[in-house]
Symmetry: C2
Subunit: 145 residues, 2 copies
DNA sequence: CTGAATTTGTAGCCATGGCTACATTTATTG
DNA sequence: CAATAAATGTAGCCATGGCTACAAATTCAG
């Protein structure tokens, strides 16, 4: 509620919650493609075991999610081989990393400890619009001066 | 990744994702109790139809979620009657509204349009730690001066 | 007070993302 | 090269939060 004792328009309010639900559908994909891209860049390849270890879930869970990512055209994986990103997956990874870094930098500039900044950014990153991202970048610049 | 070509400690990274998954378990509850509290304050009662309308979901979905909230001790509801918050539910509502308002105020102060601020806050609010919340409040004060 | 409209409940379906347990394949090592 | 270890796959379970369709209760008019 916007502090006054008036309730906002129901449809408008519903639209916000729908937006959040929409974000939740893509955020798992975003985190996985970003991590896959990291692993490929650093290790040369992305394997199920390491995804499982770094996501903190079982390898069975990773397998299921990789299956969905492949269905959705973000990833290519053949049985017992390492996992590759499609062009679309790579684009999503780049975009996800961009958001992630802007949020982390802003939080640190705002005085949040590096550890907490990293933790909070992992959730926040999926819910910031381009408009907000621009404002956070601008603010980070101003604070640092 | 932290920009360098080094991968961070796997267990630390996993802890962050676990935190996000944890937040996702509570955020539906937070949004519902906050809305229920709003409806009680403004309308005198919270009913399934209006929850459904304002959350943008079917009344069947609301019923299922209210059932869970009751199981978890956040809500009391008897068949065909309106929905009440327990003390615990009310506490959660107050806390959720506090977070919500701090985030919205900060975003607006940062130059985000009121509409976008409200939209983004609905997702962000569930992923900000107390530490970050304090920093955002402080920053909002500074910007406004 | 009765009949229609509204609200609420419930059943049963689906996809997602968790898990364990077990099977299979690939990699390592003696 | 064979045996063991490690990685991957798969089956089947669970809870959540979506939905539609239908049933039952409550509320509102007339
Ligand atoms: Mn994330
Ligand atoms: Mn979220
Ligand atoms: Mn919310
Ligand atoms: Mn809220």
């Amino acid at each position: 509620m916007t502090s006054s004792s008036e309730l906002e328009n129901a449809a408008l309010q519903a639209a916000k919650f729908e937006r959040v639900r929409e974000a939740h559908k893509t955020e798992v994909a975003e985190d996985y493609v970003e991590l896959i891209d990291d692993l490929i860049n650093v290790n040369g390849e992305a394997r199920v075991v390491e995804l499982a270890e770094r996501m903190g879930v079982s390898h069975a869970t990773v397998n299921k999610i990789v299956g969905r990512l492949q269905r959705e055209g973000l990833v290519v994986s053949r049985p017992y081989r390492s996992i590759f990103l499609t062009d679309e997956g790579r684009e999503m990874a780049v975009e996800a990393r961009r958001r992630h870094e802007i949020v982390v930098k802003f939080l640190k500039a705002a005085g949040v400890s590096p550890e907490t900044a990293e933790i909070d950014a992992e959730g926040i990153e999926h819910h910031v619009s381009d408009e907000t991202l621009d404002c956070l970048s601008a603010l980070t610049g101003k604070i640092e001066i």
